[in-house]
Amino acid sequence: MRLEPSFGRLFRISMETAFLAILLTLFTGTHAVAWTLEEAAAPYKGITIRTIGEALPPLEAMEKLKGDFEERTGIEVVIEMYEHSEAVNKVMLDLNSKRGRYDFILQPHRELGRFVANGHVEALEKYLDNSALRDPSFSPEDQLYQGLWKEISWYGGKIYGFPFTALTMYMWYRDDLLNDPKEREGFKAKYGYDLKPATTWQEYTDIAEWFTRPDEGFYGTAIQGKRHEALWYEWLNFLYSFGGDMLEVKAGSECGPVIVNSPEAIASLEYYKSLMDYSPADTLNYFWDDVMALMQQGKVYQLIMWNDATYAVAEDAEASTVAGKMGFDIIPQGKGGKVGQVEGWTYLIPTYSKNKEAAYLFVQWMMEQQQQLNQHLNGGASARPDVYAHPDVQQISYSKASMDTNAVALPKPTIPESPQITDILVRELSSYLSDQKNAKEALDTAAAEISKLLGSCAPMKYPVQ
């Protein structure tokens, strides 16, 4: 008997709740509830999509994450991993053969102009405007660093993709040695100021000199001097910081006067080479893998390196002897002020892809905060500010340096000729470092070749006699 009224009340409450829920649904609009990944992916169930990228932690993280997507959608995702240049070459051949082996691709953004100009990749507006495909909660306009997104994945005012990684370079140094009282005392006695992370290039040199102890197999710094793209990327930090640039343009997709042989550029290159005195003997045979290993083995005090390699040195105690002993900061400043260079890998959908919609769904899913956070914590470099704001990310030793550099990163050429510009500069920089030319000769040669390559839009601002 006593149960009766309470049962009735319960019934009434549940009816009221149901009514309110229905009302709420009606008011919040139908699509918010209607769109689910499972439904959007239903037409593509059972198909396989294939992609290709560089074999590094961010892609390995994606390999681990994809299972969840496969389970929810029934779409299988195959990921091919290759070394940097191999991943670029394979895509170039696939796109030119128009075979459509890859449903979406991951490529460095300097290649973007080539792809767009040749009609190899599709603008994504039509997928973003398609309500069947677009997740209403996905709004890259608000969720990504706009500057990074536009630099990495836009071309000529159109959206071609989303950043897979937003890579920057910053200064790595040994925090444990920096705080060693003996080192601090000795340094101050010799140079007259306190040992701290370098903020000017003079300080950078002083610190490198102080820590160079060849008898102990320990060096102040190391440069990536091999004839390889790594050399060019590293030098750009110096070039920008000394107030120079390659072309006088405002955006990566523009063509403009060649200024790569400006006095600032020459000074930056000469300074760059001066660091060889504090580097290991084989420094002209190093690229990013080598200097990363050098740091992991605790053989060098400071250098300038990529954020996607930081995790393996700073956090991964199994691979690194200096895990937990590292400090990170934005690169020292010269005439160019606070600068950084950005290089992103971007998701792109080739024109010849056979499963564009399914590919779009996967990319959209990867850009969700949960996946981005997960990938970032496993060595990725997200372009979402809310990932950096997450407490777990805040705790990572290199987050601040990463964010500071992201904020001041300068664009670099993404025009169709830009990979050829890189190749010319790599060759000339390497010739200078190995004493086959002086700095002015090397940069003059590069400027003349670049100007000729680009044609009338790129006269030389500093003509060569």
Binding site: N96, P214, G217, A281, D282, L294
Partner: protein, 309 residues
């Protein structure tokens, strides 16, 4: 009788027919692509730049190669230098080793097997092994060279533009001298005994035997070895690609590396085809000149012999 004649007729008729498949195959995989490459050399085909779809440009690419491309000519001379040094030294060392094995070593089998190890390795593996051995900080060879004072603490072989090419030549010697030894030894073993016996009867000393009997008899074998090594050295790619990628600067940018760059880094396929064609042309001319030079004497002799008969 009739049967035999029929057989001959069938043979004569069948011979070209049986040749057709191999000729077709050659046309398909050798001549066809070659002609296509030559054609590409006359176009502006470029994979990276828009609007360069492969329209005919006449001799523009050839003009650019001859007049403007300093790096091509640098690479060309560098490659010639590499080929000449490597082939000469490999030949002398390989031949000497073969003579040593032939005259003084009874159990050759073991030595030969050991000797052939470098040659049996994949070229890429050779590159990787030497990359580690020559590594400037912890490489074993670097360590010992520093220990005996050949190089100083601040020198690393692959980072030094004056040492890197000789180093690559030495690696090539290490890899390919055994090949020369093998072929020369096979040649020595196949020589007839009679001319030697006759020469000894006539009072020839060891030096005379070598100069007047061994060398002339070995002439075709020597020609073969030099030709094979010459062509191979001209095409050298793997080791350099792995060890230096053409650097530092352009210190080891051999023609094959340069051609690779033009084609697969810049994707300038029209111009790249011309570079590749030039490599082919040079190899062809070298072979022809060389072949003539080596066989000229022999040819004279056999013609004279034929006449006498």
């Amino acid at each position: 009788m009739i049967n035999r004649r029929m057989g001959a007729i069938v043979d004569r008729g069948m011979a070209p027919l049986l040749l057709i498949p191999s000729v077709l195959l050659l046309l398909l995989i050798l001549v066809g692509p070659f002609l296509y490459m030559v054609w590409t050399g006359f176009t502006d085909l470029h994979f990276a730049l828009p609007g360069r779809e492969g329209s005919f440009v006449g001799f523009d690419n050839f003009r650019r190669l001859v007049r403007e491309d300093h790096i091509f000519w640098h690479s060309f001379l560098l490659t010639l230098k590499f080929v000449v040094w490597v082939v000469i030294i490999e030949f002398i060392a390989g031949f000497a080793l073969a003579l040593l094995l032939f005259h003084f070593i009874q159990k050759r089998r073991l030595f030969l097997t050991l000797l052939l190890v470098p040659m049996m390795l994949a070229p890429v593996a050779v590159g990787l092994i030497w990359k580690l051995l020559l590594q400037g900080d912890f490489g074993m060879v670097t360590y010992y060279l520093r220990l005996i004072g050949v190089i100083d603490e601040r020198t690393a072989i692959l980072s030094d533009s004056s040492l890197v090419l000789p180093a690559i030549m030495l690696i090539d010697l290490w890899q390919w001298t055994p090949f020369v030894t093998l072929i020369m030894l096979a040649g020595l073993l196949s020589l007839p005994r009679e001319p030697y016996e006759a020469a000894v009867m006539d009072g020839a000393g060891p030096l005379q035997l070598f100069r007047d009997v061994t060398l002339p008899l070995l002439r075709p074998i020597i020609a073969l070895v030099l030709l094979l090594r010459g062509i191979d050295a001209f095409k050298e790619f793997d080791k350099v690609f792995i060890l230096t990628g053409g650097g530092p600067g352009i210190a080891t940018e051999l023609l094959s590396i340069y051609t690779y760059r033009v084609n697969f880094k810049d994707w300038d396929l029209g111009y790249g085809a011309v570079c590749a064609f030039m490599v082919y042309l040079v190899v062809l001319i070298l072979c022809a000149v060389f072949y003539k030079a080596v066989f000229w004497g022999g040819g004279q002799r056999s013609r004279r012999a034929g006449f006498a008969r």
